[in-house]
């Protein structure tokens, strides 16, 4: 009764639906909380201020978006969610059970990552909507949603790839997000196009006019067109998923989770 191999689309669908229940467990709620908590606190403070008859700070939404969600929460979300993808099977040594199936091996990283992407994206959209209540500029809402979801796509894909390339992928990811991206602030402007922050600012509106000089990402105004920015984020994410798939397909991974010399 041996079967024909499933199509890559069937592989993606099966893996995504098969692992989707993991979202409603501890790690999934941790990812949700990374968005919900800062936005929720902000909403609470805003509501309390209103009830007390106080004026709310119009820059609050901007501050939470850039300093809270973009700088801190998005990278942490990627660092928390990516290890629950294909890396988890590698570490738990359950990957051989998938690798001995006749399915497209390259589709596994994306298949396992898709539920996490959709879950995180849903919470980010809710977060962006919540910030509108606090005082976000309505004309920038779509840009902010695009920036958050686009960056989440790229950062999750990057962390999945790093997790397959390095044993201590989370460490390297943390170094990239919290050391390399801020350091690029002092580099020439063209190098800043290698940061997520550049494209996020392009989509969500540059902060150049609203923050102090030392807080600026770039020495010059971000001029990348938003359409180009979203394209770059989507393409970068797709490239990372493809590379992760290629790496998994090419790498011999045995029962011990280690590689043999093929």
């Amino acid at each position: 009764m041996s079967q024909a191999a499933p199509s890559p689309l069937a592989t993606l669908r099966a893996t995504a639906f098969g692992y989707a229940p993991r979202l409603l467990q501890g790690r999934g709620w941790a990812v949700a909380a990374l968005v919900a908590v800062p936005v929720g606190i902000s909403l609470g403070v805003f509501t309390f201020s209103r009830l007390q008859g106080l004026d709310s700070d119009p820059a609050e939404a901007l501050r939470i978006f850039h300093d809270g969600l973009v700088k801190m929460m998005l990278p942490i979300m990627a660092l928390v969610a990516a290890p629950a993808g294909i890396r988890e099977d590698l570490e738990q040594r359950t990957l051989p059970l998938l690798l001995v199936r006749p399915a497209a091996v390259w589709a596994y990283p994306l298949g396992k990552g898709l539920p996490w992407f959709l879950w995180g994206a849903a919470w980010l959209v809710l977060g962006a909507l919540g910030l509108q209540v606090v005082g976000g500029d309505p004309s920038l809402l779509l840009g902010r949603i695009g920036a958050l979801v686009g960056a989440w796509w790229g950062e999750l894909a990057l962390m999945t790839l790093v997790g397959l390339l390095f044993k201590r992928g989370t460490l390297w990811g943390a170094l990239y997000f919290f050391l390399w991206e801020p350091l690029l602030r002092i580099f020439p402007p063209f190098l800043q196009r290698l940061t997520f922050t550049h494209y996020i600012e392009s989509l969500a509106g540059s902060r150049a006019a609203e923050v102090k000089t030392h807080e600026l990402l770039a020495q010059e105004q971000v001029t990348t067109h938003p359409a180009v920015a979203i394209l770059v984020l989507v393409a970068f994410g797709a490239l990372c998923w493809a590379l992760a798939g290629w790496k998994l397909h090419r790498t011999p991974i045995g029962l011990a989770g280690s590689e043999a010399e093929g």
Binding site: S2, A5, A10, A14, R22, Q25, T94, P102, P252
Partner: protein
């Protein structure tokens, strides 16, 4: 069905499997892969199941190289060693995913899942999460995932580890039944008696080398050529007097309150020893085989091989 032509496997500087050549014919039956821990059993199974490509030589399963080859993988099932399963998932949903990844869908998938769960006796407990399952239950689910797509070749790596005697017998019955239905079963173990109960054909591995292959009888005859040490506790002089009359005796050593015999063909001498003790002809208080474990047997074979 399976052919290895000087196939070897290296883990960096470590040789997991020396160049090995053998063939298994088409059709059902059970083949036991026997060897102590570290003998290279898992390495061989990983080559056959397409998890790892050979470092040298050639591996063919169903006439093709198995590594990342869907045409081969669609026809084999693997039950890896241990009881690891993805955390936080329900068994039935996970099995459905594994079925879909094997190319099953719709009613065929439902029927295959029900059949596999029925076969392993887990039909009424498949709604549980893996965290709530016992080791034996998880082992059955791992077997079910390998049976889902009706494989022609079923590979099991140390499947009896950690199972209670009842579960062990149940699994043996199941494997015999599958073999009777035309499935070629390849099962590894480091316990000779397990394999001997189960299989009609044995491959002996030791330190990454295939030492011997043949039927259980042939392997036993090979082992019988080598002396085995038995310690008989009792009156040493009386025991020694009885022992020197036995044709299987190769050497004898006296100890305090005991005598150590080195005998060939222990299966011939043991019944006579039993009869003599029962009849009161020898003052035997205890009998301890000193080196009947598999490691010792392999040590003998290694010397022979050299």
């Amino acid at each position: 069905m399976i052919s290895l032509d000087r196939a070897s496997l290296r883990y960096g500087p470590i040789l997991g499997l020396s160049p090995t050549t053998f063939e298994l014919p088409d059709g059902g039956g059970i083949t036991g892969l026997l060897g102590p821990n570290g003998a290279g059993k898992s390495s061989l199974l990983q080559l056959l199941s397409g998890l790892l490509p050979p470092s040298g030589g050639e591996v063919r399963v169903f006439g093709q190289a198995p590594f990342r080859n869907p045409a081969v993988l669609a026809r084999l099932g693997l039950v890896p060693e241990g009881d690891r399963l993805p955390s936080g998932l329900r068994a039935d949903r996970w099995l459905r995913m594994m079925g879909e990844l094997s190319g099953l869908s719709g009613e065929a998938l439902k029927a295959a899942q029900a059949r596999a769960l029925e076969t392993v006796g887990m039909a009424d407990r498949a709604h549980l999460t893996f965290a709530r399952m016992s080791k034996g239950m998880r082992q059955r689910i791992r077997l079910a995932q390998a049976l889902l797509h009706g494989p022609e070749l079923l590979i099991l790596d140390e499947p009896f580890n950690g199972l209670d005697p009842e579960a062990r017998l149940g699994l043996m019955d199941l494997l015999r039944r599958l073999a009777g239905e035309g499935v070629r079963v390849l099962v590894s173990s480091h316990i000779l008696s397990e394999i001997a109960q189960l299989t009609d054909r044995i491959l002996l591995l030791f330190r990454g080398r295939l030492l011997a292959e043949g039927t259980v009888t042939e392997i036993r005859q090979l082992l019988d050529r080598h002396p085995v040490e038995l310690r008989l506790t009792g009156e040493p002089l009386d025991l020694a007097r009885w022992a020197v009359e036995q044709p299987e005796l190769a050497a004898l050593r006296m100890e305090e309150g005991a005598v150590v015999l080195s005998v060939r063909s222990p299966r011939d001498i043991l019944p006579r020893l039993q009869q003599a003790a029962a009849a009161g002809r020898i003052p035997l208080r205890a009998l301890d085989p000193l080196d009947l474990n598999l490691d010792a047997v392999f040590q003998y074979l290694t010397k022979d091989h050299a």
